[in-house]
Every structure is written in C-alpha cells, then in structure tokens.
Symmetry: C2
Subunit: 190 residues, 2 copies
C-alpha cells in the first residue's frame, strides 16, 4: 500500500517535472497532480530535490539495464558497442523529462537540471569505460585509455545521433554503425 | 582616410560587441567607443546587423587564412589536418567576441549571435570538406563522405579541445594528435 502510494507520487512528480521543468514544479503542484495531500509526499521525501534525485536515479538505472541487455558476449566488441550506444541515446532522446531539462538548462540554467544531466552522462561514461577496459584486457581492441575512449565514443555518437540531424537528414542506425566502423574501428588510413 | 575611419569603427564595434554582446550593443554605444558621431557610422554601414556581419566575416577570413597556412603539401594528410584543426580551434577559443556570443546564446539566445557562430562552423566545415575530398581523390585516405567526415572530425576536435577540459586536465596538442591518430587514422581494431 505504502509502495503504491510512493510509486503514484513518483509517477506524478515525473509527469510534473517533464511538463514544467524542475524549477517551476512546486511540491503543491506535484501533490495536486498525484491527487494526495502535500503532507503525504513529505512522509516519503524530505524535499523536492530528494524526489527529483530519486526519479533521475530510476532513469539512470533504466539506462544501465538497457546497456547491460545490449551486450551479447558472443558478439564482437564493435557490434555490442554500437547497439548499446544507439539504444541508450535513443532512450535519452525520447525521454520527456530529459528533453524538458535540456530546455530548462538552455532557457534559465537551473543548476539541479544541469547536475542531473551530468549524472546521466557520467553513468553512461562509467558503463562504457568498464566495457572498453574489458575489451582492452581481452585484446579485442588496441591499447587505449578507457576513460578517454569512452568520452570520444559518446561524443561521436551524440554528434551523429543528435547534432547531425539539426541540419541534415537523420542517419539510420545502420548508417551510423558503418560510419562508426570506418572512423573508429578501421580508421581512415589507407 | 575613409578606410582608416571605417577600420576605426570596425575595431570599436568589435570591442563593444565583445564586451556587451550583440543585443546590448547599440549604435550609440559603438559611436561613443569609436569616438565618432552616429551619422559617421551610417555612412559606412546601413545598420548594426550589417556592421556585425562585416566583423564576423573578417573573423571567418582570418580563420580560413590560418587554415590555409596550416597546410604543408609536403606533409601527410593527418599531420596537416591536426595542425589546421588545432590552430583554428585555439583561435576560436581565445577570440573574445566568440566567447561573448557563446555566453549570449546561452543566456538570452540572441538569434544573430547564433547565426554568426553557425556561419563560423560552416566555414570551418567547408574548408575541411574540400581538404578531405582532395585526400580521398588522391587516395591518401580511405573512401568516405567528405561532408560526414568533416563533421565527425570537427565534433571530435571540439570535444577534445573544449569539452574534455570541463572536467579533466586539458590535453596537450601532442596528446590530441596521438588520440586522433589512434581513433581516426589507425582505428581501434586489433
């Protein structure tokens, strides 16, 4: 019963944050959306920040699960990596709360929204780093810094999945896989 | 004499835009900084937008010159490309007006500032595209789309030169050259 009520509050809060952003979502507004008294929310969460943190944390756990499920130990490093990055970025791209937070950062620079998206990025980088370190140790790829490589791979993917389509036709998953293979696995050298 | 007066206005206007951003820089303010009457400015430029466009255009010409001078036909594609990208991004990084416009876009989203920085990026991409097409034709690098490759190279460089140092020790030019060689020229494949 308590779990149901807590979940109900979390769902309502996520909806509120996704519609109005972090700053404009008051506890009153969340309580009204959840159809509970404000006091009920405070029995589960000390303040708005804590509630927001729980919601973002659930999203990060979801991303990690998607990433883990994207790895098939029978398949080569590159195929897994492409699938993981593509799935994770697709999920992030369609996630209403993340979209709203990105707008909020651009429009009014809310610190908590900024921090939340950095935490999401750090989680993705952390996952990639572990996976790359493993591939280097198993000699599946050349020796490289797992930290820098994770950073480069994520930046390149974000560029191809998000930035490219600001001014061009979107690339398909297969096209991105081919580009990724050419640029980062085979290299441009003749 | 007219050229001197025009140059004087351009220098003063660039200083004003770099201090106050595009939006807050009125023609009055520019006239005071240039120590001329507002009427004098209008003999050279129809409006603030035209004056701004001239200044940004001069900057783009300067970037192109730096890029051209960075290419030594005796040296391999990769060495030239690294030098050009590094020099161009260093120049952009230290350019006070560009820094101010970036802040202005973040803070109040001025359309003209946004457009100006997109023009700078397009100029760099255009230059890279020509250089990459040439390298593909001469079979110095593998067959690839010059447009997508220019985009990927610039995004990767911006990530390594600008974004990396937001949370880590800055990378030196040599380190970036090594990373670039590993990731994009040799590739990660064993």
């Amino acid at each position: 019963m308590a779990v149901d009520r807590k979940d109900n509050i979390i769902v309502a809060a996520e909806k509120t944050f996704a519609s109005f952003g972090y700053k404009a979502s008051t506890m009153d507004l969340i309580a009204r959306t959840a159809n509970v008294g404000k006091g009920t929310i405070y029995t589960f969460f000390q303040n708005k920040e804590e509630l927001f943190y729980e919601i973002m944390n659930k999203f990060i756990q979801r991303l990690k699960k998607v990433a883990m499920n994207g790895i098939d130990p029978e398949e080569p490093f590159f195929v897994n990596l492409h699938r993981v990055l593509y799935k994770v970025l697709e999920l992030r791209k369609e996630h209403q709360l993340t979209i709203k937070l990105t707008q909020e950062i651009r429009d009014i620079g809310t610190r908590q929204a900024q921090q939340a998206l950095e935490n999401v990025e750090d989680a993705i980088l952390g996952f990639l780093e572990v996976y790359i370190r493993d591939a280097v140790e198993k000699k599946e790829i050349k020796a490289c810094s797992p930290k820098v490589t994770a950073f480069v791979l994520l930046k390149l993917y974000v560029a191809l999945v998000f930035d490219w389509e600001e001014h061009h036709e979107p690339l398909t998953s297969d096209e991105i896989a081919d580009l990724f293979d050419l640029y980062l696995m085979r290299g441009l050298r003749k």
